[in-house]
Symmetry: C2
Subunit: 174 residues, 2 copies
């Protein structure tokens, strides 16, 4: 599938409501349990998505637009959520994520990106040359992959409860 | 996590709205593309969930309640959706799934299952002895695992579009 800004935005704009439908008012057992040592719970993942809105996607898009390859992005802290989400409720996190995403997509729209601009190059501190279009595609895959991870983590909580059916559930054997 | 009927229902009752939020009005490129040979698109997966509502979960629960181990379940056809969904729109499928799920959960509620009844045994045609509680836990994991699969399938569509970032996206390397 070729990258098209409009199709990318279709996903980006619905992630907050998908997360709300999936997580709001769920028992803490579903929301706060991870897959064991150092893995992430749904609560942790929402915090991680918030940190991405604040420091990764749109800020990096603006660096590419304004400075191109002259300025490498800051490194992204993949563990910031553990400190930043402390003491907050899931409800607060979901609300924050929804507002940040809405603001970032509104700002993206004002950039009025052309197909040529999507090819504009930036510099990733480790991966080297990347383009604005690749950054935006990664934003989309990042959302979807964390939805996939989150629902997998929730599956694991019933690993024992399914009994013999585990045999038919490859997701429980990972 | 120990199986608790109430917590299981929390997931089962929200799956239709999660699917609606994720899929309604998405471009066909997102909805109809699979991961290659014999794999399933989001459209196929919704059809598969419908077939489960019609022939698997609640019908099997009733067999356990009424006949226990005396009557093995019918085999479940994992590919029925390819024929049954033909010519239908995603919108129709989502609506059908939502109605069937609502009806099945209403019927489940009327069974007023006690913790003792959740231990009641049934006979799976291949897996052998299973319990009603295990069947209901599997219903939940089945929902979540297909949500996980669906979002993974959608990720794959941007495998090329993300460029060098693929390195950081383990979901694209499966």
């Amino acid at each position: 599938m070729k990258f098209e800004l409009e199709q990318a935005v279709e996903i980006l704009e619905r992630t907050p409501s998908v997360l709300n439908q999936l997580l709001i008012d769920l028992s803490n057992d579903w929301v706060l349990t991870n897959e064991g040592t150092d893995s992430w719970s749904p609560f942790d993942i929402v915090g991680h998505l918030i940190h991405g809105e604040e420091t990764d996607w749109l800020p990096r898009a603006k660096i590419i637009m304004e400075q191109g390859e002259a300025h490498a992005f800051e490194k992204f802290d993949r563990f910031a959520q553990f400190e930043k989400s402390r003491g907050k409720s899931l409800h607060e996190l979901l609300e924050t994520f929804g507002l940040l995403r809405q603001r970032n997509l509104a700002e993206l729209k004002t950039l009025n990106l052309t197909p040529e601009q999507l090819g504009k190059r930036g510099k990733h501190p480790e991966l080297g040359e990347v383009t604005l279009g690749q950054l935006l595609a990664t934003w989309v895959v990042h959302d979807l992959s964390h939805l996939s991870q989150m629902t997998r983590v929730m599956c694991q909580q019933y690993e024992e409860a399914v009994g013999a059916w585990k045999e038919y559930l490859p997701i429980l054997k990972k």
